[in-house]
Amino acid sequence: MNDMKRWISACLTALFILSLAGCGHEDPKNLIPEEKEKKPTVNLFSPMEKSDPNAENVARTALDLTVAMAEEAVGVTVAYRTYTAEDHKDKTYDDVALDRARSNMDDLYLLNPDTIQTLGAEGKLMDLSGLDNVKNLREVIRIANTVDGKLVAIPQEVVAYGLFVNVDLFKQYGLALPETPEELLECCRVFKENGIETPIGANRWWLETFVFAQAYADLYNGGNTQAEIASLNSGERKYSDYMRSGFEFLQTLISQGYIDAEKALVSEAIEGERPDFLAGKTPIVMAYWAAANTETAYGKTDFEMKVIGFPSSRGQMPVLSMTGLAVGANAENRENAARILDHMISDEALQLFSETNRVISPSKNVSLECPPSLTPLYDRIEDGVYVLATNAGMKVEQWGSTCLIVRELLNGASVEECMAAFDRLQDAALAHSGGAKAVFPE
């Protein structure tokens, strides 16, 4: 009973004190609250795809995470500016990016390789070689993003392309995984003889990876890369000389029926070849690294799958490409943008990016827990064996141009015609001493 009395009196005392505290409030004279310090803003121009709000876009989430990390570190707000083309009549993202960068509309840009090459050559992008975290980057990143001696862009991931093979089918027909173009042709022959109609599943975007693997195997792995690129840029050498063997190889694949050119020409990436590959009807397809981690692509198969490099004279050859983050040379907030970017490419940020998307990091200090299926490809990259499908240091844009010329091959053009197209591109580039678009004669 005494306990209860004590308890009640304690409650009443607490109530009394609270009442007193409530009465003690004093109003300030100026009713407008003090304004918070406004953070400086950096504008980031990046593509924004049409996406289902309920399905998170994995890649962007990883970007966002690193942006948030950088904002926290630098004390700057990053505002996104985006553009998405509504239809084919609209300007492309690359077109708008070029316009905006040339008009100094934004500070930080997420750019495709050809845009990097163009803007870099125009001097519209800031030299990033002075950033603290540049020292951590792999050499390949410098090679691919250096224009006129300036490091103009830095990627957050290295996109590696490879051949996705159904190992069970290879074993079934007693075939070893191919190292050279000849071995691949032999494998296709055996598959075809055993009733596999189309041994290689293809789409209208990625057949160029075969070409790059054969064209640049020696250029990037022969120990004379810079000099060879320089002679290409000066016109001493011709791109067509490099490209020819790859195109001829593609021509053989098409003529032997190992690739269905008609189908490939109308097929979108993954969507076109995925069903047959998963069903075991097609033993070989090509795709980028992350497709092996994504269930909606090739992340879940009923058979043993491995990802290997493309056949080349130097064995299995990974093909790398990369988009890059760049800072406008004359941007209003270029200093803050550079600081933001420096944090976005820190080992910590790249580790986060790499873990989130399970992709190869541009930092040599960030290692990746590689799934078994990707080991063959990853081991080659770690050994420094690869070719670049994008290189801002080359006067002729590679990735987009080669894709378009390969489409013409699919469409029935001869290898010679394709080589001529490369020559025209090279001439145009030399004439303008800047980037040029692939323009195929109608």
Partner: protein, 854 residues
């Protein structure tokens, strides 16, 4: 009566419950109605609030557009006055508002821009008919800077004619700079949509919500799941007519107000949504506060109820406690009354029993005394009568002893006399008493001792004997002739290594007891009454005494019985083990290290092994005599052979004797009344030991063997006439007792002088010559001066023999404490009354001899 009150209670509880529900329902209805009203008000307020905000933004944009148009008219006027209008255009720099300025002179399709390139109207769409202060405004488009923009065209008029058309491109980013930052605390989303193309030309910046449809209206609908046809058609209608639209629609599960707000007569629209919470922040606070107030009131209400309930419960508890206490008191009183009644009845019964039990022997005493008087001359009859009188007297004495024992136990005066003792002594003394009794009734008495590990213990041997004799004599009494009695002493598993846990079982196949009697068997003053046992004499106090003693020793007693099947008494006791370190030495000193154990069942051998395990002597067990012979022939040297008589027999003894050296004794373990044992004992070096086996008994036997041939100490001889010639001073106030004493002593050839009290005895002794009396026999309870005082007075006398003359207490105060009191008073011995001449003689002899030695 109780049922009616329960019903009333239930009805009261039900109506209370209903009242509470009613109050809460009423309260709930009020809260609900108030909250509904607040919600409606808040909704209206939110709509108004948002409308005002959007109106403000609309006015701002309208003002910007109007300013741009007015500015363009001014520029047009300036161009009209310029000498070279195209040159004027080229000289104009781009600024934040104006991205591009172009002029097409009348009659031409191509003109100039301030950016330097040629300009045509191609790519500009004025078909929608939008105007700002009458000037046509184009549809929105992505300009050369990669940003959304629009162009207003304005005629350049000079002298009433049209000189050309001025086109100025404005970017939406300029409008963006005039829009409020952090619209509704940055929770609102605001797009600017071109009405004609329905594309979003100005989008929110910053992080978050980037998955929202930002491309065009369709994308906005898709991303925010606005699929209701009614809403969409209403919105379409508003868009086509340039009206504003505002509607509720959840955005990602959050209630939001969506809007399509027409600007510049519907050429562009403000599109977006605001979470209702963001508009009604203060409303939420109000709601929360109301909720807090309501919750506080409810809490206070429940607190009051809880306090009331606690108080009520406490009162109720107190009331119940008082009630319980009262009930307990009544119960206790009733029990006490009942106990008193039972006690009274018991005592009445007891008195009746006693009356009967006392009268019976008394009748014999008096009857035979009468007969004695008559037949005094016939010595044969006199002896016969005196024997019967003696027997009746003995019975009367035991009756009185029991009564006194019970009264002492009940009054808590009994103290255990804890001393060391050997279980073997207990067993053998009990055996010695019970065997003859059983034999007399031709009953079989079975004695078993198993599992005992320690036989030297500490306890009250006398009381343990009392327990056993009580139980066993009862068994003998209540078992008809030819029956069986089992006495088992079992060593149970020790609970502590300092205590031997012993179970004593006394079982018989006698009359047994009824369940009703079993319930009262341990109560005092009860006795099984039936036609069979009426023959049995007893006080009915034995079991009560037994139970009390067992409990005093910390033990338990249980009884199991069935009529005509017999009874089983089970006593569990824990007795402290006496540490006997000297035990090992005993065997070592006598060079006994190996004993052969021949014959006997497994269990019996195990018992012996268990008992002998602390002695340090190695025991070899042989199942039978043959095996024993084999072991001896295997040249094993044994210092002693223990042979089970019952299982081995005479032949085995003879054969073993032949092979064993003469120095090795054979000890036969035999039952109490083993047959033909004498024959075996004739074999040299053979001795017997009565079962059950005990180490102490064996040790005694070994000691005996050692003395064989030596001079054995002469036993005390019973000398009947050794009081002859002695002279005693006796203090005795009772004349009859004095006379009996005198007569008895005279019979022994001694003389006795009587003093009527202590005082007289002291005086007489004082007067006596030294050596006149051999001893003083002292009664205790006497008038004038009691025995204790007298003894002290004598011891205090200034005489040479005052300290040495034996003073022997002779009193009816027969308990241990009486003996102690006598000894404390300086007396030498204590002999209880009724007088037992043997005891008296023993005491006199002992103390006279001591005195002589002294």
């Amino acid at each position: 009566m109780k049922e009616t009150s329960n019903k009333q209670e239930r009805r009261r509880s039900l109506s209370l419950l209903l009242s509470i529900i009613l109050i809460f329902s009423f309260f709930g209805a009020i809260i609900f109605s108030v909250s509904q009203k607040i919600t409606r008000k808040m909704s209206a307020s939110a709509i108004q609030n948002l409308s005002e905000s959007l109106d403000l933004i609309e006015s701002t944009i309208d003002a910007i557009l109007r300013s741009q148009a007015e500015f363009q008219e001014l520029i047009a006027q300036e161009i009209a006055q310029a000498e070279d209008p195209e040159d004027y255009i080229r000289s104009y720099d781009r600024n934040q508002t104006m991205a591009k300025m172009s002029l097409i002179l009348s009659g031409k399709t191509e003109g100039v821009s301030n950016t330097g390139e040629r300009f045509t109207e191609e790519g500009l769409d004025f078909s929608a008919g939008g105007t700002v202060i009458g000037l046509p405004v184009s549809q929105s488009y992505l300009n050369y800077m990669g940003t959304w923009s629009y162009t207003i065209k304005c005629p350049v008029e000079r002298d009433g004619g049209v000189l050309g058309t001025l086109y100025i491109e404005y970017v939406y980013d300029a409008i963006d700079q005039s829009l409020p930052e952090g619209f509704y605390n940055q929770q609102a989303l605001l797009y600017i949509m071109d009405a004609e193309s329905q594309r979003f030309v100005l989008k929110p910046k910053g992080m978050g919500q980037r998955n929202a449809g930002h491309l065009n209206l369709t994308d906005f609908y898709r991303a925010n799941n606005i699929q209701e046809p009614a809403i969409r058609s209403e919105v379409e209608d508003c868009l086509s007519t340039g009206r504003n639209a505002l509607f509720y629609h959840d955005i990602r599960d959050i209630q939001a107000l969506n809007y399509m707000w027409a600007v510049n007569n519907g050429t562009i629209f403000l599109v977006g949504y605001v979470p209702v919470e963001a508009i009604q922040q203060e409303g939420r606070t109000v709601t929360q506060n109301i909720a807090i107030v309501v919750a506080s009131l409810l809490a206070a209400f429940f607190l009051c109820i809880a306090l009331y309930y606690l108080n009520w419960r406490q009162q109720e508890k107190l009331r119940q406690e008082r009630e319980a206490e009262r009930k307990l008191h009544s119960q206790q009183l009733a029990q006490a009354l009942q106990a008193a009644q039972i006690a009274s009845e018991s005592k009445t019964t007891f008195l009746s029993n006693m009356s009967h039990d006392i009268r019976t022997p008394m009748n014999a005493v008096l009857g035979f005394t009468t007969l004695l008087d008559k037949d005094a001359d016939d010595p044969v009859k006199v002896r016969k009568y005196t024997q019967k009188i003696m027997a009746s007297g003995q019975h009367l004495l035991s009756l009185i002893n029991d009564v006194l024992d019970v009264s002492k136990i009940e009054s808590g005066k009994v103290v255990l006399n804890l001393e060391k003792f050997a279980l073997s002594d207990v067993v053998s003394s009990v055996d010695a008493i019970i065997q003859p009794m059983a034999k007399a009734k031709r009953q079989e008495f079975h004695l078993e001792v198993t599992g005992i590990r320690h036989e030297y213990l500490i306890g009250d041997e006398t009381r343990i004997n009392q327990i056993l004799i009580n139980l066993l004599s009862n068994a003998v009494k209540y078992t008809p002739e030819g029956g069986n009695i089992w006495f088992r002493m079992i060593g149970l598993k020790q609970r502590s290594n300092q205590y031997e846990h012993i179970r004593i079982e006394v079982e018989d196949d006698g009359y047994g007891m009824t369940p009703e009697y079993l319930e009262t068997i341990f109560d005092a003053f009860t006795r099984a009454e039936n036609s069979t046992t009426n023959k049995v004499q007893g006080t009915g106090l034995g079991m009560a005494i037994t139970k009390s003693i067992v409990e005093l020793m910390g033990g338990t007693i249980k009884v199991f019985s069935e009529v005509d099947r017999g009874s089983l008494f089970r006593v569990d006791l824990e007795l402290r083990i006496l540490e006997r370190t000297a035990d090992r030495q005993f065997w070592a000193q006598r060079d006994i290290s190996r004993i052969l154990l021949a014959g006997g069942a497994g269990e019996s051998q195990e018992n012996i092994l268990a008992l002998m395990q602390d002695t340090g002597v190695h025991l070899d067990a042989a199942e039978n005599a043959e095996k024993a012979l084999e072991q001896i022939q295997d040249a094993r040297s044994f210092q002693l052979v223990l042979l089970d008589w019952e299982s081995c027999g005479l032949q085995a003894v003879i054969r073993l004797r032949e092979v064993l050296p003469n120095t090795t004794p054979i000890i036969l373990l035999a039952e109490f009344d083993a047959e033909d044992l004498e024959e075996a004992l004739k074999v040299s070096g053979t001795e017997s030991l009565t079962k059950p086996f005990f180490v102490s008994a064996l040790r005694e036997k070994i000691e005996e063997l050692r003395y064989t041939g030596d001079e054995t100490p002469a036993p005390d001889t019973e000398e009947s006439g050794d009081l002859k010639g002695m002279r005693f001073l006796a203090a005795e106030d009772n004349e009859i007792n004095a006379e009996i004493l005198t007569e008895l002593l005279e019979l022994e050839g001694a003389a006795c002088e009587i003093a009527q009290n202590g005082q007289l005895a002291v005086e007489r002794f004082q007067r006596s010559a030294p050596g006149e009396f051999d001893a003083i026999l002292m009664d205790v309870q006497m008038p004038v001066m009691n025995g204790h005082e007298a003894a002290r007075a004598i011891r205090a006398l200034d005489r040479e023999d005052a300290g040495s003359i034996p003073i022997i207490a002779m009193t009816a105060n027969a308990f241990a404490e009486d003996e102690k009191a006598a000894l404390d008073a300086g007396m030498d011995a204590h002999v209880p009354k009724p007088l037992n001449m043997d005891l008296l003689k023993k005491a006199i002899r002992q103390h006279s001899r001591r005195k002589e030695k002294g």
